[in-house]
């Protein structure tokens, strides 16, 4: 680190903030653009069915479609409420 750098990089630069925001956004957009357009609708309808039986929150469910070389898998993740028997 040179003398000049010492005076220059005192606070977090705006470029590093830009990079951080970009990394998060791009990662999110990459995962969502590869998904088929029907996925949000599917998630909505599944949730309604599940809610008939279990009392789950709308944000308790994540849905993910993954493609490997020779197969596609639909991954459904539902966090059940912490229920106790009475």
């Amino acid at each position: 680190m040179s003398l000049l750098d010492y005076f220059r990089t005192s606070k977090t630069s705006s470029a590093s903030l830009a990079k951080e925001r970009l990394q998060i956004l791009v990662a999110y957009e990459r995962s969502s653009t590869n998904q088929p357009p029907y996925l949000p609708q599917l998630q909505q309808e599944l949730l309604i069915v599940i809610q008939k039986y279990v009392n789950v929150n709308c944000d308790a469910m994540t849905i993910k479609l993954e493609q490997n070389d020779n197969q596609e898998t639909l991954e459904l993740n539902i966090v059940l409420p912490d229920f106790r028997r009475v």
Binding site: S2, L4, S14, A15, K19, L22, Q23, E29, N34
Partner: protein, 269 residues
């Protein structure tokens, strides 16, 4: 067989037309028969940058609609006889471009030219889609700026899903990065994303970095692609890019910027 290059970015105003003009001229100057096509129907500008605006008679839409032959529409460049320009239409809209029409034109041009450079319009609509659809190589023009990097990433997604090569399951389009309007001083002071920052996100094959340069405006004022200004930094940077694309190895320049007296004395950079 011709090689089809698309110059694309998603975002507008980042330097696609400047780049298309420079590299097509560079390829032709290196002895390769080259044609550059303006896909920006309704907002043509390549003719101005190439300095042939007063010689435009027919355009790509006339050729697609069979109102003119391809040879009638092609304009021979005034500086280099190995270079031709196919202008866009100024009066129609982008929907006048059809996949079939563009495919036919590219097929015919492939017989005669070694390189076909497609100057894409901004956005991801029909014009941009068709400019990239038939490509073999993609030059992604990016500015060190958040919205440009994001749009470049979006374009990369389209190249790998909505192109002919993707649809036919052929070898994917080869993607290269051209980082332009780069200001090393602003990168050093932490105001501008650095080449490494951009590459951490896009990780592409780097063709070169073009510095922010006054010579680009001077070149467009006179209608001569900036690569012809061999004394200018931007002209030299484009020269390097063409050489690298053709397989030469050249060290990257214009990333560090010049050292001022102050910095020479106190170190850094």
């Amino acid at each position: 067989m011709a090689r089809i290059i698309v110059v694309t970015s998603g975002k507008g105003g980042v330097g696609k037309t400047t780049t298309s003009a420079a590299i097509s001229m560079g390829l032709a100057k290196k002895g390769h028969k080259t044609v550059v096509i303006d896909f920006d129907v309704g907002l043509r500008n390549l003719d101005l940058i190439m300095g042939c605006e007063r010689r435009v008679v027919y355009d790509i839409i006339n050729v697609i609609n069979e109102e003119a032959s391809l040879n009638q529409a092609l304009i021979k460049d005034k500086n280099c006889n190995l270079l031709s320009i196919l202008p866009a239409s100024q009066t129609r809209n982008k929907d006048a471009l059809t996949q079939e029409g563009v495919g036919k034109i590219l097929e015919e041009l492939s017989k005669e030219f070694k390189y076909i450079v497609c100057d894409s319009p901004a956005g991801i609509e029909q014009g941009a889609h068709l400019a990239m659809y038939f490509a073999d190589d993609a030059f992604i023009v990016t500015n060190p700026e958040v919205s440009s990097v994001r749009d470049s990433d979006r374009i990369l997604g389209l190249l790998s899903s909505k192109s002919q090569r993707a649809e036919k399951n052929e070898e994917p389009i080869k993607e290269y990065l051209i980082l332009t309007r780069y200001a090393p001083e602003r990168v050093k002071s932490g105001e501008m994303l650095s080449l490494d920052d951009v590459q951490d996100i896009l990780s592409l094959d780097l063709l070169g970095v073009i510095p922010e340069s006054k010579s680009v405006l001077t070149a467009s004022n006179s209608g001569n692609p900036v690569i012809l200004d061999e004394k200018s930094d931007a002209g030299q940077a484009y020269g390097d890019i063409v050489a690298r694309y053709l397989g030469e190895t050249r060290p990257h320049r214009f990333i560090e910027g010049k050292k001022g007296l102050f910095r020479k004395l106190f170190g850094g950079g």
